[in-house]
């Protein structure tokens, strides 16, 4: 099951020139672009691992594409997203994030039922991938 987080996730995967154009747009807006990685696809998992530092003073997208290529070499079997952070007053938060790399196979989610007091049922989703220990989840 293809997970849909962040912008553009209902579209086909972005191509390299498309990623570059999006990144350049973010840079031109004055946002700091960085890369983040995870192998836990749960939709509520918002804190991914950082790949390097946010790139505050790069005027060109080539630097981000260089890092992305490096990141794919190491974590090509995981989810990688581009995060654009706006440090401007009043925003100070992420303005745009989108997935640029995903595992070849995404096993999807299991519905977990938990019985609570008074025969009430609580529902949760658990990614099948998370059954395996972190680091061995894909491939």
């Amino acid at each position: 099951m293809r997970i849909t987080q962040g912008a553009f996730s209902f579209l086909p995967d972005l191509t390299e020139p498309q990623i570059r154009a999006q990144v350049q747009y973010c840079i031109d807006q004055g946002w700091a672009v960085s890369l983040e990685v995870t192998d836990d696809p749960h939709p509520r998992n918002t804190y991914w691992d950082m790949w390097g530092h946010p790139m505050f003073d790069n005027p060109d997208a080539a630097a981000v594409m260089l890092e992305l290529a490096e990141c794919r070499k190491v974590f090509g079997d995981r989810y990688i997203r581009v995060v654009a952070f706006d440090a401007g007053h009043g925003w100070e938060s992420v303005r745009l994030s989108f997935i640029v790399n995903r595992p070849a196979e995404e096993p999807g989610f299991r519905l977990v039922r938990q019985e609570a007091g008074g025969r009430a049922l609580r529902y949760a989703t658990a990614p099948y991938a998370a059954d395996r220990p972190s680091g061995n989840r894909y491939g």
Partner: protein
Amino acid sequence: MADSLATAAEGIDLRAEFERSGVRDVLAELDRSLVGLAPVKRRIRETAALLLVERARKQLGLAQETPTLHMSFTGNPGTGKTTVALRMADLLHRLGYIRKGHLVAVTRDDLVGQYIGHTAPKTKEILKRAMGGVLFIDEAYYLHRPENERDYGQEAIEILLQVMENRRDDLVVILAGYGRRMERFFESNPGFRSRIAHHIDFPDYSDDELLGIATVMLERQNYRLDSAAAAAFARYVETRRRQPHFANARSIRNALDRARLRQANRLFETSTGPLGAEALSTICAEDILASRVFSLAAVRESGDD
């Protein structure tokens, strides 16, 4: 020259390209704002013509490869290497060879780390910042320290060479430094020599050119030399040139700064009434003749006798 090439290219009007890309403005600005440096200007003009033709060829599908644009600027201190590098970045940007046209000026300290494993991230950080623009490495020969074989400079050199080769579309590297030491640097790092297409040598300024530079500098700050001061300054330039640590235009700038200081002092001590704009912006001969350069020269000459 451009006209004859235009007919050969069939369909691409080089003259119009020259106008439209704004290259002409950059070259005209270069001519106007920089005194002297005739060989440098000629080389830049040639380079611009080459790049313009190369771009036209690319549009017609005659060339695919991006030409090697890395350069080395050699010349004595204060001959305008950094200034010209700035113009070069603008020129390359207008010709579309680099995407942003900014200049990142660095020295050894910015590239080389202080402990093992520090150099690579530091160099990469700088390279990333320079992407889409020009990386200007001043006094590049300090990267190579032959006396210390475990110096981290070598690591920075290797990363630089790799990026210069593989990322030619993304950034242009300009190495700058004093002539002879750069020569030795290239000898011990042949990788650099083969990756650099354009070597531009910056000659020293003549006395007249230095005077011209002084005039331009003063005009920019709304000062002027009176005729006695101009004569004194001509003598100053002649004397200063023969003393050690002469740094061409930089020495001139420092001399003018000190002359302004003396002028301010003189006005402060001698003025009795209100001063007009004329008095406030005129530098007199005595402001220049008070310089240590003249007394040093006198000492040296009497010592020789």
